[in-house]
Amino acid sequence: MSQVLHTPPPTTSAPAAGEDDLAALAARHGLSVSGARPSLPDYVRQLWARRHFIGAFATAKLTAQYSQAKLGQVWQVMTPLLNAAVYYFIFGVLMNTKRGVEDYVPFLVTGVFVWTFTQSSIMAGTRAISGNLGLVRALHFPRAALPVSFCLQQLQQLMFSMAALVVILLAFGVPPAASWVLAVPALVLQFVFNAGVSLVMARVGSKIPDMAQLMPFLLRTWMYGSGVMFSIHHMTGPDSGLPSWVGPLLQVNPAVVYIDLMRFALIDSFGGGMLPDHVWAMAVGWALVAGIGGFIYFWKAEETYGRG
């Protein structure tokens, strides 16, 4: 391997007249710079043209995940159920966090599933570029396809969890209601939010691979502040002794917004009074800010992904 520790200064042995001539020759024949960043509208168009790849890649990853297990795809449903069981054992039975929360099991399981969707999307996004350098260095496609595809994989995973959730809800006596339909817009908004944050983390992770080590701790801290296992509404209520501004402040948290929306949609006893104020506006706002901001932030470095 030829190795040079310093980049040598531009050598003078280059063909004297060559520099300008080659650029001029390229310009005369309308050649474009290889690997240059496309404009934002072009980038969106290219990404849209690759939508089938994004979908196929997500599904392939999801299927490959359990293909060596004896039970195979049954794990798609088993994994979230076991997760929920563990959380119930710790927070519901051992620590008895359920104080005052009606339908605690559906409340907890919904929270865990919705949170897991955001958490694993962001985790996968952080590794989307740095963990797939082989792909990035071998094939041409808008790089945003990778983080978006990983988020889509998590969304598909969530669909299995939701199927399990319906069974749990019915088993714990939560009646099916028309409000279940609200789960769809809530999920769409959460997906856009997740994809946006994943795009940001994909760019950060591609420059600083160490982020993948740090993220689990940040995400766990975020989780404990998001009312996954307890009710923020109950904990910050008037008889909690906390100042009255603590509740609304905690409820601006996008994770809280999306988790509570899903609980409101699915669980009968989780009434509108427990929702944060302006909850739909916040859900849309967070999705737009993260989605558009994350996409532009990721696109800005498009031509640099793949540098080792």
Partner: protein
């Protein structure tokens, strides 16, 4: 070959490399330099400390310039680690260049989809996934599917295409990968030692396919350690050594020098002796410009 003797205005350049430098940065190298304090130092002091803190810069390609024209098949030769594959990736726009520019007509594509395929999936699903990854549409893949499977010969010994790729022998997997990759037509096609896969009969078939692709493609670049396949496919050869362009000219001329350099015909895999300190500047190294 015919194009080489006729440098007139009709020659259309498809790839122009203008003083290209490519540098890799590798974290955490050097004895004792990958320690936590060194890493912290690097973060705090920024780029200046990069060198001291064990970030090695590997200068893989140095000031390479050439012009490739439509209809040419260009071989890239050189001993292991001389920067051939790196240069190819930069032409494809997959690896950013440090200095200089690479201009291309359309989007050059590397022949290879290995990274997009998944061993846990069936061959059938991998054909679809690989095709989509290369930018083919679902309809195109459907139309080509049978052709890809037949060409790979995977189903010659039973219904293997519906088994996961991890159950394939390495030769079978390599054949399927090549078949998927070769299913798409390209403007500028870059081939990295893809001819060496599979058994003798498959090699023959793949060489044929490369020639076919070459007819459709504007320009073909071929990286290979087999001087024979270079002779069979290419009419012009670039010789890279230690990241520098040592020679650029008609196949026979360059290969004769190269074989002298590596010691005997077709022994390219042998470790090369240290190259002479100042390689004689070749007159042919400057690509003739259309006047």
């Amino acid at each position: 070959m015919a194009d080489n003797t006729n440098p007139t205005d009709e020659r259309v350049p498809t790839v122009v490399a203008d003083g290209v430098d490519i540098v890799y940065r590798v974290n955490g190298t050097g004895a004792g330099r990958g320690s936590a304090t060194a890493a912290l130092n690097r973060i705090l002091r920024g780029k200046k400390a990069e060198k001291a803190a064990g970030v090695r810069r590997v200068h893989a390609v140095k000031n390479v310039s050439f012009v490739a024209y439509r209809g040419e098949a260009i071989g890239l030769i050189g001993t292991n680690g001389s920067g051939k594959s790196t240069l190819l990736k930069a032409v494809a726009g997959l690896l950013p260049v440090e200095n200089g520019h690479i201009y291309t007509d359309g989007q050059p594509s590397l022949l290879g989809v290995n990274a997009a395929l998944m061993n846990d999936l069936t061959g059938e699903r991998n054909v679809h996934l690989g095709g989509l990854a290369m930018g083919m549409s679902r309809a195109q893949i459907k139309a080509r599917y049978q052709e890809i499977v037949d060409f790979s010969g995977i189903n010659d010994k039973g219904d293997f295409i519906t088994l996961p790729m991890r159950t394939y022998s390495s030769g079978m997997a390599a054949r399927l990968r090549f078949s998927i990759a070769a299913a798409k037509d390209h403007d500028v096609l870059l081939v990295d030692e893809a001819l060496a896969t599979g058994d003798r009969s498959f090699q023959k078939r793949s060489e044929e396919r490369i020639r076919e692709l070459r007819k459709h493609a504007g320009t073909v670049f071929l990286v290979s350690h087999s001087n024979k396949s270079i002779r069979d496919t290419c009419d012009r050869v670039l010789w890279l050594e230690r990241g520098e362009l040592r020679m650029d000219g008609p196949t026979e001329e360059v290969l004769r020098e190269y074989e002298k350099f590596t010691g005997g015909p077709d022994k390219a895999a042998r470790p090369a002796p240290k190259p002479k300190p100042a390689p004689k500047p070749e007159p042919k190294a400057k690509a003739p410009l259309p006047s």
